[in-house]
């Protein structure tokens, strides 16, 4: 159980995390989602007692991180897979972490076997591929058999095989009743793994919902129509309570009315339709829509017909 209350972190003038509150509860995978630079890593470092909050509190299993005497038994984390002294072997890296918390030596062998690094355990970690480093990081998080586990962008840069391996591992951790928080900047990476989503943008909490609710709430579906009498149709739709905005190729996008009602409206007004089609925004687009106002660095090429236009139309 992780409890975050009114957490704020400033670096000089920059507010990296802005009054964020949420809980991460046991038994499910909580996805921590946000664009790059949105404050995910800073929040995770504050959970781990590495960065000090400017204000607010974080507790892990009821206590601030620093008050756990042997925290590896409570919390395991992989914040940065490359944060390893490259001159040390995988085994010695894990051994020094284990020893610091009084974790027995045979547990080191156990986690090395669990993540499949037995054959390279006595090789220097500097020569490891990204995938191997990720496995070593996960082995480190598993050392104390902790009830709470944090992973910062664990699948970043991995091949599909590695992504699937980590996904299954995280799901099995959650199934064992552990509290799992996993961050990502890609919705598609998290949608299949997480049960619950915490979304932040520019340091602020945007959503704290189940994946199912998130899809339902934020997937903006709309109706696309083409017609030689587009102006008249738009007026009829607005009169009927719908919202319109221009779509690509001179088409009209309509929301707020079911597709059947749009067809009926056109018939009643005597307007010919050349196209009447349902449009579904993907999960990725829903996430982009949710965070579009909070992306740190915008690329200034705005396509005309993304569902992002919904907000302007509404």
């Amino acid at each position: 159980m992780i409890e975050i209350r009114n957490l704020t972190k400033r670096f000089g003038d920059v507010v990296a995390v802005d009054d964020v509150s949420f809980d991460v509860v046991p038994g499910r995978v909580t996805g921590f989602l946000g664009p790059n630079g949105s404050g995910k890593s800073t929040t995770m470092r504050m959970i781990m007692g590495l960065d000090w909050p400017t204000s607010g509190t974080v507790t892990v299993n009821g206590r601030p991180y620093g008050q756990h005497r042997r925290p590896l038994f409570e919390v395991g984390a992989m914040l940065d897979a490359n944060a390893i002294h490259g001159g040390r072997t995988a085994y010695n890296h894990l051994l020094c972490l284990a020893q610091s918390n009084g974790i027995p030596r045979d547990r080191v062998d156990e986690v090395i076997e669990r993540v499949g690094l037995v054959s390279v355990a006595h090789k220097r970690a500097g020569g490891f591929s990204l995938g191997m480093s990720q496995r070593l990081g996960i082995a480190g998080a598993m050392l104390g058999d902790p009830g709470v586990m944090l992973f910062d962008e664990p699948v970043n840069g991995l091949d599909p095989e590695g992504i699937r391996w980590i996904r299954n591992l995280l799901r099995s951790f959650a199934a064992e009743g552990r509290t799992i928080l996993v961050s990502s900047h890609l919705m598609s990476e998290i949608a299949l793994t997480a049960d619950h989503l915490v979304v932040i943008g520019r340091g602020r909490l945007i959503a704290d919902v189940s994946v199912g609710d998130f899809i339902e709430q934020s997937t903006q579906n709309f109706v696309r129509v083409r017609s030689p009498q587009i102006e008249e149709l738009a007026q009829a739709v607005i009169a009927g309570g719908g919202t319109t905005w221009p779509d690509a190729d001179g088409a009209l996008a309509i929301s707020g009315l079911p597709i059947d009602a749009v067809g009926d409206l056109a018939r009643d007004a005597g307007i010919a339709l050349h196209e009447l089609s349902p449009q579904l925004a993907t999960l990725e687009e829903a996430f982009m829509e949710l965070t579009r106002d909070s992306v740190e660095f915008h690329a200034h090429a705005v396509p005309a017909s993304t569902p992002g236009a919904i907000k302007e139309g509404a």
């Binding site: 005497r69 042997r70 002294h85 040390r88 010695n92 051994l95 020893q99 918390n101 009084g102 058999d145």
Partner: protein, 275 residues
């Protein structure tokens, strides 16, 4: 609290009771012995401290018939035998800095402090492991340097004995000087967090500061010079106490105060700053 975790999570590992310091010391020793830089720098320090003095003593003995009276008056068999400390201190300083700065440059420090959020305990354990190892290596090197040097000097009856006044203190003191210097380096590495910056600062304090001080007016220079870190610290293996220099143990005391100040600053900053 464990009660907040659902019952289905079966914990197979139980945290041991008792103080954490011994565990953290064990962990730091594993870190210390598991990277190559430790062996490279310790070997360099050992060879320098143990071999340079004897080589210089052998050369001195060889050209002794041609040595003039002034040089003969300046000669101290025990002091020359410990001359390798001047070189060894570079290696020990580098090792002390790397012990923690390498954790910052690799990012390992975050894993370390996540495992042991009691940050001052981490610093204490590092200091303990490093001091013990440096002290053992330095003392052995200094004694080897002394006895090997005397072996080269004895045919010319120039050799000193451990029982001569101040000699045992100087030989033991050489190791003490290196260990305290290493601790100062560790503290600077913690404060500065960059290997190159910390090494440059350390050597600046040790070697550049006396050079700057020499530009002062004579009276001020005489007053100031003796309290500079390297001048004070090296009195412990000096065999001739010149005017305007500290007594051996007083000098080492001053050197220890510098180390204590640096370690205190390191402990405060390590605790306060984001990792």
């Amino acid at each position: 609290m464990a009660t907040q975790t659902p019952a289905q999570l079966e914990r197979r590992l139980v945290p041991p009771d008792g103080p954490i310091l011994p565990d953290v010391v064990r962990s730091e020793f594993t870190k210390f012995r598991s990277v190559r830089s430790t062996y490279a720098t310790l070997a360099a320090a050992f060879v320098a401290a143990a071999a340079l003095g004897p080589v210089q003593c052998a050369l001195y003995a060889a050209r002794y018939p041609n040595v003039d009276a002034e040089e003969k008056a300046d000669f101290s068999a025990a002091h020359l035998s410990l001359n390798g400390i001047q070189l060894a201190q570079l290696a020990i300083g580098v090792l002390g800095v790397l012990l923690i700065s390498s954790e910052y440059t690799t990012g390992m420090i975050r894993a370390t402090l996540a495992a042991v959020p009691q940050r001052r305990t981490v610093l204490a354990a590092k200091a303990f492991v490093f001091t013990i190892v440096t002290l053992i290596v330095s003392e052995i090197a200094c004694f080897i340097a002394f006895f090997a040097s005397q072996a080269f000097l004895s045919p010319k009856h120039l050799n000193a004995h451990l029982s001569d006044p101040g000699v045992l203190r100087a030989v033991v003191g050489g190791g003490l000087y290196l260990a305290v210097l290493g601790l100062t380096a560790l503290a600077l590495g913690t404060v500065i967090r960059h290997s190159a910056g910390a090494i440059a600062t350390l050597f600046g304090l040790l070697f550049v500061l006396p050079g700057i001080a020499s530009a002062l007016p004579r009276a001020t220079r005489d007053a100031v010079n003796q309290y500079l870190p390297s001048n004070a610290g090296q009195q412990i293996f000096a065999l001739r106490i010149d005017p305007h220099t500290l007594q051996p143990w007083a000098g080492l005391g001053v050197f220890c105060i510098y180390a204590a100040i640096a370690l205190t600053a390191a402990a405060i900053l390590l605790r306060r700053r984001d990792a």
